[in-house]
Amino acid sequence: MSSATRTSTFLKNVLLNGVGRYVCQLQRVTLQFCKNRGDSKEMRDFIEKDLVDFARNNPGIVVYLQPKRHKRPYFRAEYLNGAKIDFAADNYTRDELGRWLQHLRTRSGVQIQRLRKPYHTDYVSIQGEWTPFTNLPTELNVTEFPNEELSRVVNRQPTATQLVLEMAEKQRVRSSESDGTVSGKLQSDT
């Protein structure tokens, strides 16, 4: 699947989170597991040993436990913007489960899509947007066109004749400095 077939979005933030204060976007998480099934074993260990610490450290997240007979273990997360994310967690190790919970805690409910730009701003320009009049001299307002002065060809690079004349001048200055002796040879660039 190429990026052309998948949807893409611009960078979004829920309710300008972080500008005023940071609010954890995860509202509640439900851990579904089976009390008997083997693929829930690590999940059961996680619940016994690590989950209470997680709940204590995150008082803003409501943690629900849903034992369901003969069903595979599941994460069901609900976010403040109404998004619901769920996925199966069969045979995930205790460490993996902790990491997935951490991932759920730190993301927002915004759908994970390719970002067209990794930045967003409401202020398009700080110095002022370019207009066709920016940096144009105001003298143009009172200039009659066609204008001879402005129509002149401007040589930004020196011509070959000018270069040779410059070199000759340099040599003359150098030779006049060194006790008036005149050197017949044109000196190569030093």
Partner: protein
């Protein structure tokens, strides 16, 4: 092959169909039998049943509290903690109970023959909390804006406050904080007005639990930040800006505004652009482009007024909202009224200040 009795059994509900599909049940001679693999007819048949049942009786949106993984006490506690505040739980509970819910409860109790204020069954609604929250929100928003835009007229401040406390904005904030699942009101989903009022009640509850300072910071972090995505100059529409500018400059004893054409391009085309500048005492006080000279002149007058009110850029608000934590704004201070600045235009600026 499925019999007619079997089809009627299947038609009972979507969930029954799903049960059959998930458990690979099929009909063989009018009795349910387990088969291996899905039968070819099952998927399209159950899909049709589902689509038709949805069309006939679309599934109503149920409140989150209807699910069995719901604990109201925990949810309300988490709501407070998530926002980084220490609420008094009783007051916060009260903040979510709308008056319409209490009325509905009382009506039900009457039907059942229970006394309205039976012991242990008393419910208090959030009407006083709404009033308290609303007044604190209004006073803080206005004093914050007055502090940051001291030259902006009072009418403009009112308009900005009305925008920030409009139904749309407060409902949007309330829903994205997680209030939607907690509100107790007569109808579900709660109306826009109900969500807006509950948000105000939460501010009132915070004021009661933790005092004015924390409640004001709450308003700052959630309500005032909504200004950042909105150009404040677009909110307040001024009629006859040139007239207002002339009167203000006259009162200030400065030179009367003289509009001059600064730039023009494409005059004979459809996409003409004229840049008009307003001069006062031979100094440029405002400039703006426009499709025609008249439009450009009006825009330039508005730009000049923005220069006088010092509201050209919104950027200062960003730093302030995050850093301005001292809250030493004077609540009694008022900005100059536009009607005072230009008395003869009282009829035209028809915005009343509360």
């Amino acid at each position: 092959m499925a019999t007619s009795i079997g089809w009627r059994l299947l038609q009972k509900s979507y969930w029954q169909s799903f049960y059959c599909l998930s458990h690979n049940l099929t009909f063989k001679k009018s009795s349910l039998v387990f088969t291996r693999g899905f039968q070819k007819w099952q998927r399209p048949a159950f899909q049709q049943l589902y689509l038709r049942s949805e069309k006939a009786l679309p599934e109503e949106e149920k409140p989150r509290s209807a699910a069995y993984n719901w604990n109201r006490k925990c949810e309300i506690y988490a709501f407070g903690k998530r926002l980084g505040e220490e609420f008094e739980q009783d007051v916060l509970q009260q903040a979510f109970i709308h008056k319409s819910y209490v009325e509905k409860e009382y009506a039900e109790r009457q039907e059942l023959g229970i006394a309205e204020d039976a012991e242990g069954l008393q419910i208090e609604h959030n009407e006083t909390l709404i009033a308290e929250g609303n007044s604190l929100m209004e006073s803080h928003i206005k004093s914050f804006l007055r502090d940051h835009y001291p030259h902006f007229p009072e009418e403009g401040i009112s308009v900005m406050h009305d925008f920030l406390t409009s139904d749309v904005i407060l409902e949007y904030i309330g829903n994205n904080i997680g209030m939607r699942d907690l509100i107790l009101s007569k109808d579900f989903p709660p109306s826009v007005q109900c969500v807006k009022e509950t948000f105000m009640a939460v501010i009132g509850a915070l004021q009661r639990s933790q005092g004015d300072v924390r409640a004001k910071l709450f308003v700052q972090d959630f309500v005032l930040t909504q200004l950042l995505q909105q150009d404040m100059n677009e909110l307040w529409k001024l009629v006859n800006p040139m007239g207002i500018l002339r009167t203000i400059l006259e009162k200030q004893g400065k030179g009367l505004p003289e509009p001059r054409l600064l730039r023009s391009t494409g005059s004979s085309t459809v996409v003409a652009c004229y840049l008009v500048g307003i001069y006062s005492d031979k100094k440029l006080i405002g400039q703006a482009p426009g499709e025609t000279v008249t439009i450009a002149e009006e825009m330039a007058a508005q730009d000049a007024l923005r220069g006088i009110f010092k509201t050209r850029t919104n950027h200062t608000a960003i730093d302030s909202i995050a850093k301005h934590r001292e809250l030493n704004t004077d609540p009694t201070k008022r900005n100059p009224l536009l009607t005072e600045l230009c008395e003869q235009f009282k009829e035209q600026t028809s915005i009343h200040v509360s």
